[in-house]
Amino acid sequence: MNAATHPVAPEEVMAFLDGELTSAEAQAVSSHLDQCAECAGLAAQLRSTSQSLSGWTVPAVPASLEETVLAEAAEAADKLKQEKPGRTTQLSLWNWRLWAVAGGGALTVVLIGVALVASIIYPGNLAKSRPMEMAVQKPAAPDYFYTPARAQNQQTAVMKGNFSAAGAGVAQLGSLATPPPPPPVAGKTAGGLMYGYSAQPGAVTAPMIARTVSLTIAVKDFAAVRASLDSILVRHRGYAAQLSAATAENAPRTLQASLRIPAPELAAALAELKGLGRVESETQAGDEVTQQHTDLAARIQNSRETEERMRAILEQRTGKIEDVLQVEEEIARVRGEIESMEADQQALEHRVDFASVDLQIAEEYKAALNPPSASVSNRIHNAFVGGLRSAAEMLLGCVLFVEESGPVLLIWLAILGMPIFLLWRRYRSVMARF
């Protein structure tokens, strides 16, 4: 068999018999079959194979199948019928929902708009409370003297969270009660006597309150605020116990300070500090230390008297050298105690004299487009070098990982992979049987 004797391929004979050839091709194959006994034999063989297959009959479909499928079909047809009106309902429902949502949104927008317009047209309503607030924030007169009534007022004010208002009222009360003495000289005063308390036991006339204030302010002009802060401290004879400023790049600048302000100046100083910017948070607290102070004063007094008596004993009486030494030791101990207690007393008085103000100032940051620090070519070069380095490190990391974990992974792969492989092969062989 060759191309000369068989111009058609055996598969073409089959395709011809299957009716898969065009008329022209079929014509060619047909005429060849008439001439070629071999190809005619192949055709007969193919026909007989097909004919033998035709004997493979299948029994009729069970009737139960018909019932089940036709019942399903009827159900499906009903659903299909219902779907059409359903679709339109769904569509209109969807439209209704869409309109409801759109209407609600529009109403909200209109309400917000009206509110905005109203606030622009009638700004008085909103601003009415502000002048009052500003008025009460103004420092009236320095409150040098703490009276029980004023302390009570202050506590109430702390509870209300409007300390400056109370401060102003207190100052007025104080000025009515007694004329204000001259402001104290910055630094230490004579045992705090000027502020209305006495180191003498039983002489305390007013409660001693150590005040602490915490204030967070947002400002626009940070540089100006720094200068203003210094001037406020000078003006009110205060000082900064601690101050730190941070000026990070591409971030708001911040200043954190722990200020000490003379207690009588506190209200005025606070008002000025608040004027620096927008107050974000403010807390005030008053710690009453009268009892503590009185106790200390009494103990100091007692110790002094003890010291006096011992000195008198030492001067007036004679005795053994051991006794003298013992008395002197005792005097030294009492002296030490007195000094220690006096230091505590002074610290306490200082806390009362100078209110502690924890101030935090943050700049209202506006991001700025800074010019690039490095030139474009440098940045490209750096990025390229960085990329190469990262790639090299990654490759090295991969190599190291394979070296380190490769053997273990291989063992695990063998342990886990072999059963999986065997099961897969079995699955494939079963599939191939179908």
């Binding site: 068999m1 060759n2 191309a3 068989h6 391929a9 055996p10 598969e11 089959m14 395709a15 011809f16 018999l17 299957d18 009716g19 898969e20 050839l21 065009t22 008329s23 079929a26 047909s30 079959l33 192949l42 063989q45 193919l46 026909r47 007989s48 194979t49 097909s50 004919q51 033998s52 297959l53 035709s54 004997g55 493979w56 009959t57 299948v58 029994p59 009729a60 479909v61 069970p62 139960s64 199948l65 018909e66 089940t68 499928v69 036709l70 399903e72 079909a73 499906a76 047809a77 009903d78 299909l80 059409k84 099961l423 079995r426 699955y427 079963v430 599939m431 191939a432 049987r433 179908f434």
Partner: protein, 221 residues
């Protein structure tokens, strides 16, 4: 491809006696209607249950035969037939009239058959169930039929599939190619190979191999 000489066509009535399966557009149960499968399917997707009944009557036997020849258990064949019709019902809204209904139906049947085979293979592999294989049931078989079925069962699985689709489902080469995702030429060569191999298997085992002989001749052409 439809304009061949009918006298030489394998499936002409002269050569092949009528089988249980109806030919290309079967009119089952004598229901004489001019409506095509595609028109009936379109009518059903509009809610006409009768249209599907006609389609079902046309294809119930061919589809049952399709599964019956490929699945060993008759009950499973029935189940898969039912499953295919139900799948057709559910997918009716997605049916595109551009595709031949017959091809679409057998494509669905084929998917269901593959899923069934996968499940059976999985159960056989992992759960130790004995697979029934693709040997058709021989309950009512005559000996000659049994031999033929066994011979078909010994063919390569893909060759067998091409042969069965051509011989019993009477799909064209193009339809088989689409269904199995094979190139048209592959379908033709596999069909040829399957037919010759089947002929050899049905002939005496000692006889010469037609497949081998024609394979050699093909190389020379």
């Amino acid at each position: 491809m439809e304009d061949a000489f009918p006298a030489f066509v394998l499936h002409s009535e002269a050569i092949r006696p009528p089988m249980n399966e109806a030919p290309r557009y079967p009119e089952a149960d004598g229901s004489q209607t001019a409506e095509s499968d595609e028109e009936l399917m379109a009518a059903f997707s509009r809610g006409a249950a009768d249209a599907f009944t006609v389609l079902f009557l046309r294809y119930k036997q061919p589809l049952f035969g399709f599964f019956r020849r490929r699945v060993a258990d008759p009950a499973q064949a029935e189940e898969l037939t039912q499953e295919t019709f139900v799948a057709v019902l559910r997918a009716s809204s997605r049916y595109q009239q551009t595709a031949l209904f017959r091809t679409w139906l057998y494509a669905i049947g084929f998917k269901i058959l593959r899923a069934h085979r996968r499940k059976a293979a999985f159960r056989a592999t992992f759960l130790g169930e004995k697979p029934l294989g693709s040997e058709p049931a021989v309950d009512e078989a005559i000996e000659a039929q049994t031999m033929m079925r066994q011979a078909v069962g010994r063919l390569d699985s893909l060759d067998r599939e091409v042969l069965l689709l051509r011989e019993f489902e009477q799909l064209s080469y193009a339809e088989i190619a689409e269904l199995l995702g094979l190139p048209l030429n592959t379908v033709r060569s596999r069909l040829f190979r399957a037919r010759l191999a089947l002929h050899d298997l049905l002939s005496a085992p000692a006889s010469h191999s037609s497949a081998h002989q024609f394979a050699q001749s093909k190389e020379r052409v």
